[in-house]
Symmetry: C2
Subunit: 398 residues, 2 copies
């Protein structure tokens, strides 16, 4: 066959191969990555790839290990997901090839992670061995190891509440040591760590405000929240919201709320109260509680629609088949939805027109229009838990 | 040749074709779209495709007409750019194929546009004929025509300051009519329009706060700003900042500042004063001016780094070779850069670690690290003006 005759034949074959690959769940065609996301299918050790334009599932990627309490961050180009499993597994997933690009098991027991502002470093928060391990986002080669040692015997603490902060920094809390650490990885091989001691007993989770300025750690062992202003570290850790937390008469807590779900709406933070059927409204300028909103059950996630006009709330067992919507200016519940049993997580599209809900015990993900509350789509999923959209790549602290 | 022998040969040929296509500026390989952007090359009627991870140019797309004062919005998947030219041209560019996907000339003279919250509609702001035209984002087929008629003779006004707002709405100002209109395109074929009259003389540009709540229009004919709270339209248009604008003793204005560049940093807006060598600091809760910051020249864009810690400012001729950086908490100028002659625009990466500057008369785009102020890259470009990154797809009002 002469080379100049090969062209048309080649084109046909390439097309045929392309079609076959698509049918087999192989690589997708050229497409943008801005409307993609992953749904964690916990029991199956699998993630499902979804897109929010047509609101469909594009396939699944298997072999991610123990995905209980799993979370996801994204590469700055939106092509790769970094999935943090409970078993210490860190899996880099290629959304376009729909395949595991790389997987390392980097600890025995871990709880989430973060990606640096410049997208070059992925950090994982470990319970065992307690500390933070940092990896090259491109290769997953280890870059830095930060053991969470404390006290005279260099005991190691569980690490929780790990977030990224502007300036190639990571901030996290030491549960057993009652400390908050700020690690600056400007020189990744030699992290510069600033430690804050006696922040309050047993910080159990942390979050950073959307502007990357304030780090807050919820306290399990005391009634309050630890606050660190990253613009002024010399001020040290302040104690706020002493009415928050377990209170003087601890109530049974069915599920600790997630601090990362704290909603910011203008000057207000809306926080799930711990153990109470309430949301706390906190003024971000004074860090004082200014209101409480009675809700259906013990809130787990209270998430602000990106425009701050609404806050959507889900609840702990046995009230977890309900979702309530708060109108922020009036602080009224304007809608109650019953998507089905065990609503575990909710995620807004970045401009807020849709919200995606995982309804675990119905094996379903549901999508709602946030203006009309109409259900736009329902997708099958195997015991779905977390939902994470690629737009997180462009947000501080997510 | 047997089919089963074709595989390896095919692979080689495909690779060779791939390389050739890349050299010719043809389709790129599979890649994420989250780190892409366009630089307007005004004089050449061309856009240059750049990426912010390696900080390189990936090619150029030609044939976009008159690109003076051009601006860009993105499809929700980040694959397609909608480029608004001065000549009424609306061009849909495929960033992955590096090609014009579709182009319409929809008016004689136009000034920017917007994409609806759900990504389905693209609206263009026209001087001639005065009004807004709305197109299907997928096909660029016309969907709605909103002529900006006013007064007893149904004269048509130039339209300026067009932005998207939550709920499939567009908001814009009528320069000649002194009106602000809110168009709800929930039913795209029958826009519901709410008109606000007597907002102040000659609104010349508009912007919406990042939460999509407040629309502000700068006034050319008076000394002030018109404010509309989109959460409470019945309140009507308020007049704020009577010390803003041209003032009682108008100064020569070399270039009107861009309102879309208004920086939001926490509770503060930082605005370029008109005609003065000053920035105004405005409290968003009260809409009162709380401070002024003296700067190098007449400011054009004052853009907040995404974390709100810094505001970067460029200037009108003859001071336009300088960029100043304001530290927000202290309101001090902490750095002055001299990138070169005629710095026209600046754009931050979405998490704020880099800023891209167009230096028109040096035919260069420069990239700086916003923490160290180190110059990270310089790319050749033909008289570059606006720089627009795909992360805008995920922001309200951009």
């Amino acid at each position: 066959m002469r080379a100049d005759r090969l062209g048309p034949i080649l084109a046909t074959i390439v097309l045929a191969l392309g079609a076959e690959a698509a049918l087999a769940g192989g690589p997708v065609a050229l497409r943008g990555t801005g409307d993609l996301g992953l749904v964690i299918e916990r029991a199956a050790g699998r993630v499902q790839l979804i897109e929010t334009t047509g609101r469909t599932s594009l396939g699944a990627i298997e072999g991610l290990g123990d995905l209980s309490h799993a979370s996801v961050v994204y590469s700055r180009d939106g092509r790769f997901a970094f999935v943090f499993g409970r078993d210490g597994g860190l899996t880099k997933v290629d959304l376009l090839e729909r395949a595991v690009a790389k997987r390392v098991v980097q600890a025995g027991n871990s709880i989430g992670g973060a990606i640096s502002q410049d997208g070059s470093l992925v950090a994982v928060s470990n319970y065992d061995p307690g500390g933070v391990r940092v990896f090259d986002a491109r290769t997953l080669e280890p870059v830095a190891d930060i053991p969470a040692t404390y006290g005279p015997d260099d005991a190691r603490s569980k690490v929780v509440g790990l977030v990224d902060a502007p300036g190639r920094r990571f901030v996290f809390s030491l549960y057993d040591a009652s400390e908050i650490w700020v690690a600056d990885l400007s020189d990744a091989a030699a992290p510069a760590i600033r430690k804050f001691a006696d922040v309050g007993a047993q910080p159990y989770d942390g979050m950073i405000t959307p502007d990357g300025r304030h780090y807050l750690a919820g306290l399990f062992g005391e009634d309050g929240v630890a606050l660190l202003d990253l613009w002024d570290l010399d001020k040290g850790v302040q104690r706020i919201l002493d009415g928050y937390g377990r209170g003087e008469e601890p109530l049974p807590v069915y599920k600790m709320p997630h601090l990362e779900g704290w909603a910011a709406a203008g000057d207000l933070l809306v926080l799930p109260a711990v153990g109470r059927h309430e949301l706390l409204v906190v003024d971000r300028r004074t860090w004082q509680e200014v209101d409480r909103i009675a809700v259906h059950g013990q809130p787990v996630f209270a998430v602000g629609r990106p425009d701050g006009r609404q806050v959507w709330v889900n609840f702990a067992h046995p009230d977890n088949s309900v979702v309530q919507v708060i109108d922020v200016p009036t602080r009224q519940i304007v809608r109650e939805l019953q998507p089905g049993p065990a609503v575990l997580h909710l995620e807004f599209t970045p401009r807020g027109e849709q919200v995606w809900l995982s309804v675990r015990d119905a094996d379903r993900v549901e999508v709602y229009d946030t203006a009309t509350f109409e259900r736009l789509a329902a997708l099958e999923a195997d015991k779905p838990s977390g939902i994470f959209l690629t737009a997180r790549a462009h947000r501080i602290g997510l």
